[in-house]
Amino acid sequence: MSERVPVLQIGQVLLVSIQIDLDDQSVLALQDDLAAKVVESGAHGVVIDITALDIVDSFVGRMLATVASLSRLLDAQTVVVGMRPAVAITLVELGLSLGGVRTALTLEKGLQVLERAHVSSLGASGPAGAIPDTAAGR
C-alpha cells in the first residue's frame, strides 16, 4: 500500500513535508509527482522538509539527489531542510554525502536560500548571476 505525500504550493515554491516512513514505491511516486508539479506550476523552488525523518537511507538519499538534479533541469532549485544531526552522521558514514543537494537547517532558512537564488537569477543581466552558495552549512 503506497502513501501519497502531498505537494503544496506557496507562491513560486513547492513544499513537501515527509511525515511518515515511506516505502520505496512511495518515494519514487513522490519524485515523479515533484517533477510533474514543477513543470505544471512553473515554480522556481522546491523545499523538501525531512524534519520528521529519523533515518535517510541510500534510497531516500538518491531520491533527494535526483529531485535536486531534475528540478535544476526544469529551471527550479531544490533545498532539503530539517536534517537531524544523527541522520547527517549516518549518511556520511554510509558513504552518501549528497554533494549536489542544497540544504538549510530550517524551513525559514530554506525559503531564504530559494529567494536569494531566484533574485540573483533574475538579475543575471548584471555581473553574471553568481548564485550565493550560502545554503550548505548554515
Binding site: D23, I55, I89, T90, E93, G95
Partner: protein, 137 residues
C-alpha cells in the same frame, strides 16, 4: 513486552512493505536496548539497506531480529537471509559504488560501516545470509 530477551523475532521480507517493517523492528529493538540516538539511527539505516538487498538481490527472504548479551554487553543482532542467487564475488560486492541492481552500491559496504560486527555468508546458487550486530555503548 514478554518473553526472554533473546527470543528471536522473524519477519518476512517479500515486498517493499517488509523493508519498512524491518526498520520498525530494528527501531523497537534499538530502543529496548537503550541505544543512543546516533547508534539507533545507524542500526535502523543498516537494517533498511540490508532488507532492501534481501528483497531486490535475494528475491525476498527473512530478517530475524533479537537482543543479545555477551560478556556483559547488550546489543541487537539482525540476520538477513534469502535463497537467492548468492554472491559470486564477495570482495567486489563489498566495494563502495559497485552495484548489480541499479542502486547506489552502498547497501553492503555502507551498512558494514554502520554496525559493529558484520558477517557475510553466501553460496552462489544457494543464497545469502548477512548477520550484523550492534552493541550498546
Amino acid at each position: 513486552m514478554n518473553g526472554s530477551p533473546d527470543a528471536p523475532r522473524p519477519l518476512d521480507i517479500t515486498a517493499s512493505a517488509g523493508v519498512v517493517q524491518a526498520r520498525q523492528l530494528a527501531r523497537a529493538l534499538a530502543q529496548e536496548c537503550r541505544f543512543s540516538l546516533v547508534e539507533q539511527t545507524k542500526l535502523i539505516t543498516a537494517a533498511s539497506e540490508l532488507a532492501r538487498n534481501t528483497l531486490i538481490h535475494g528475491g525476498g527472504g527473512t530478517m530475524t531480529a533479537r537482543l543479545v548479551e555477551e560478556r556483559g554487553r547488550r546489543g541487537v543482532r539482525l540476520v538477513f537471509s534469502d535463497d537467492g542467487p548468492g554472491i559470486t564475488d564477495v570482495e567486489l560486492a563489498l566495494t563502495d559504488g559497485w552495484t548489480s541492481g541499479g542502486g547506489m552500491g552502498l547497501g553492503l559496504s555502507g551498512s558494514r560501516r554502520l554496525v559493529d560486527d558484520f558477517v557475510l555468508d553466501t553460496t552462489p546458487g544457494r543464497g545469502t545470509a548477512v548477520t550484523v550486530t550492534k552493541w550498546a555503548r
